[in-house]
């Protein structure tokens, strides 16, 4: 998979992420991120120990059609980049059936030197797997409950 043109750099500041404060997390993360757009001949230079988010150039679609076997996928690193200390994901590699969109990459430079990230450069690989049996959908919150509120 190739690197897309969208980069997001977390800002630093006197704040802390609080993931228990429901309803405003995405807004807060959005406001504390700097958006960059890569241009073809102008790479983004990632300093040592810096973490950014990026997106793949490709859009991945894993449709779930009734009666057809389903597909899931995993993002995996490229060994050539890993050897130099470039991590492209460190958690949540699974792309679930039903996903449609570009994939978000959690990029970290673990080396002692800066790295240039170019739009369109090979950045990751996608392992596609067949899902057998029925896909587990979220159980209805109303199942087995006697009140509309879900009790």
């Amino acid at each position: 998979m190739k690197l897309g043109d969208k980069i997001s750099v977390p800002k630093s500041g006197k704040f802390a992420y609080d993931f228990t404060v429901s309803g405003s997390i995405a807004d807060f993360i959005g406001k504390t991120s700097e958006k960059h757009v890569l241009e073809k001949n102008r790479p983004f230079t990632l300093p040592p120990n810096q973490f950014i988010l990026a997106q793949t150039l490709e859009i991945v679609g894993l449709p779930t059609n009734e009666g057809v076997s389903h597909l899931a996928a995993r993002i995996e690193r490229k060994s050539s980049l890993a050897r130099c200390g470039l991590l492209v994901h460190f958690t949540a590699p699974t792309v679930h059936p039903g996903w449609m969109g570009p994939l978000t990459l959690e990029i970290t430079n673990l080396s002692k030197t800066s790295m240039n990230l170019h739009y369109g450069m090979p950045i990751a690989q996608l392992i596609i797997e067949e899902v057998r049996g029925r896909i587990f959908e979220n159980l209805s919150q109303f199942q087995g409950q006697s009140t509309p509120e879900g009790d």
Partner: protein, 96 residues
């Protein structure tokens, strides 16, 4: 069958992506990042760095009971999963 859920839209982490926040049936909050094509903007006006907008997000109703409806969002919430329960009054037929 798609419907649209009232929400607050602000800028996301990437261009073309937006941060969405809204209310569950019990007035607690949810938030997620969504793509532009899954959102409805009032009079086509998008949020900027300093201002959010009241808009809608595309949802798929899964189950209805009295005045509550379980809907599926286009992406998982940051709090917990992709399905949420809202009040039927929060749902609209079209994005505007």
């Amino acid at each position: 069958m798609e419907k649209w859920l009232n929400c607050e839209i602000s800028t996301g982490q990437f261009t073309g992506e937006f941060a969405v926040s809204g209310e569950l049936f019990d007035n607690s909050g949810f938030s997620l990042f969504a793509q532009k094509e899954d959102l409805g903007f009032p009079k086509g006006k998008e949020p900027d760095e300093n201002n959010s907008v009241h808009g809608t997000i595309r949802v798929t109703p899964l189950e209805t009971k009295k005045d509550l409806v379980l809907v599926e969002l286009p992406r998982p919430t940051l709090e917990n999963g992709r399905s949420i329960t809202v009040r039927t009054e929060q749902i609209k037929e079209n994005p505007k």
